[in-house]
Symmetry: C2
Subunit: 386 residues, 2 copies
Amino acid sequence: MSVTAAQGFTAAGIPIGLKSTGAPDLALVRNTGPSTASASVFTSNRCKANPVLWSERVAAGGEVSAIVLNSGGANCYTGDEGYRTTTATAEAVAEVIGVEAGTVLVCSTGLIGDQLDRSRLVGGVATIAAALADGEAAGQDAARAIMTTDSVPKLAERRSASGWTIGGMAKGAGMLAPGLATMLVVITTDVELDSASLDHALREATRVTFDRLDSDGCMSTNDTVSLLASGASGVVPETGEFIAELTALCRDLTLQLQADAEGADHDVAIEVVGAATEQDAVDVARAVSRSNLFKAAIFGKDPNWGRVLAAVGTTDAAFDPYGIDVTINGVRVCRAGEPDEPRDRVSLEERAVQVLIDLHEADAAATIWTNDLTHDYVHENSAYSS
Amino acid sequence: MSVTAAQGFTAAGIPIGLKSTGAPDLALVRNTGPSTASASVFTSNRCKANPVLWSERVAAGGEVSAIVLNSGGANCYTGDEGYRTTTATAEAVAEVIGVEAGTVLVCSTGLIGDQLDRSRLVGGVATIAAALADGEAAGQDAARAIMTTDSVPKLAERRSASGWTIGGMAKGAGMLAPGLATMLVVITTDVELDSASLDHALREATRVTFDRLDSDGCMSTNDTVSLLASGASGVVPETGEFIAELTALCRDLTLQLQADAEGADHDVAIEVVGAATEQDAVDVARAVSRSNLFKAAIFGKDPNWGRVLAAVGTTDAAFDPYGIDVTINGVRVCRAGEPDEPRDRVSLEERAVQVLIDLHEADAAATIWTNDLTHDYVHENSAYSS
């Protein structure tokens, strides 16, 4: 599991005192090659954190030797001083492992608007470089060091019969909404592919996975998903299989993020079918996923389909308001815009909830994964400055 | 105060058993003339309730003799059966007061997807027509009968030195977001104006009042704001003064809706200045008003300006991410995208909160009124099927 599953990678995770709790807060993943091809996608938020501003430039070059990640501070809206902290961290990593600073990605997560302790970061780099290892424990250490309000580390792995592997780690529990859902994700693979091929595959995979997680409608300033390829397996994968496995791995991590969303009691899959276009399906599902009234009703185990339709009605998607069916956990509570089966037949006792919306227009479909709106969500996000 | 403040109107509010609590749930407002000019605006939600479908047709005719409103059920997504309940109610009112059914507006509020009890409604019309009166108590009765989760009736009145009056009542506590903010509003006036002039004035007024209330981002299926003019004062008002007074009355009712929003601890005014266009200012303020993380932070008395900027960054408005100032309750916590005054200088002990965002682009400005996200909001909307 994790980022050390594929050949050609080492990792580590250690505490350096950025978190007041003393928990691990610095992670490093190194690609030992022979190849250093990569692809990354970043938040579409226009207010980007300093590590994103730096890493976008590095990613554009295609070659990534290492990625250094810290929790305990987002380094966002920290001005020139914050940007220099990012560059100093990249330079320290480059020096200690003997690569160009321009091939080192930097990710940060935590509170916006506070300066990171640069000397702790730069000082920590030498320590963590000495701890780099290729075993499973090292990958798990790295995954733990990027956690913020996450209750568990998120790890995934896929192995191809053709002799190659993809592994990954993710963090993210709040500010989960696309472009991308808030998260830091590092995926490593030992396939032989160039950066352009990796970029194509990563965009295909994230489009239908991380981009369709919308836990709380709030888009982060720090989201980064990076895919690093070492080529150490010596295998050039079949493109379709690689994209399929990468997508499966991304979906696995996406559902782990959903399952650990701050304060959530329910994991809700909103599936829209019968849409005129895939974008219509996404728009409708996303509108429902962002309705606080719908989300509070799910928390209260109330299959309130009126709130589903009220959210559907705010979109520009093609539909006849009196041609929509809504099914909740297998019970069709609304048919063609009228009450159908009694709502008390719907059980919302389980954590998993499926809301199926049939627009009866054409054949396009999409699913958005979201969570309910709970007392614990309010508590965590009012009591925790993040 | 209320809808009987202006000359030429009678009103009543009575219980007819639609609400299980026995609280008043039927209201009637009659325009006794001599004029029956009117204007109305309705929800922009494409999933519209039956009374909205009916009332849109009535409103298009311009003449409105009466408006009948019920709480205890939204009559939305109730199919042909529900539509016939609406028309039967209008016809009953028309018959008992001797007007055309096509001049009777109908409004309903409550749970979506349940049939209203048609016989109670039609039977209640004769009773309420006999109770119509022109005193202040009658206006207050009507305002009470349209309440759902509202804790207080909402009433307002403006009197012109030129001898005319505007009065109004409103309901709305949840599903408060524009186009329009969820509500039923009836405004009465004794000016002499034709329906086209009233329509112009009403749209000018609602555009900067009800349309800028965004308590919880959820758009209703039943919103209606109707303005009825009796002409009973015999005065043709000066257009500018009439629009100004109507806008002041609408703002008064808007702020009453905000103050009574479900579960809210804080009334938050998000003022965006220095925008390139008014629409940019609205877009930015609305994005912040819809950030659950920002709203939960305000509940927790945490002046978390990073969450303000993260929301601003999701918009297409013109701004330089490193040229934005954020001031909360008078303390400039962020200047040009960097931390400015310490956040602990901000007090959020009071209910009223002002967030001022300066985009430093040009001179356009707008304010969106919202509320915080609280435990009580989650509780009311998970425990109460509405």
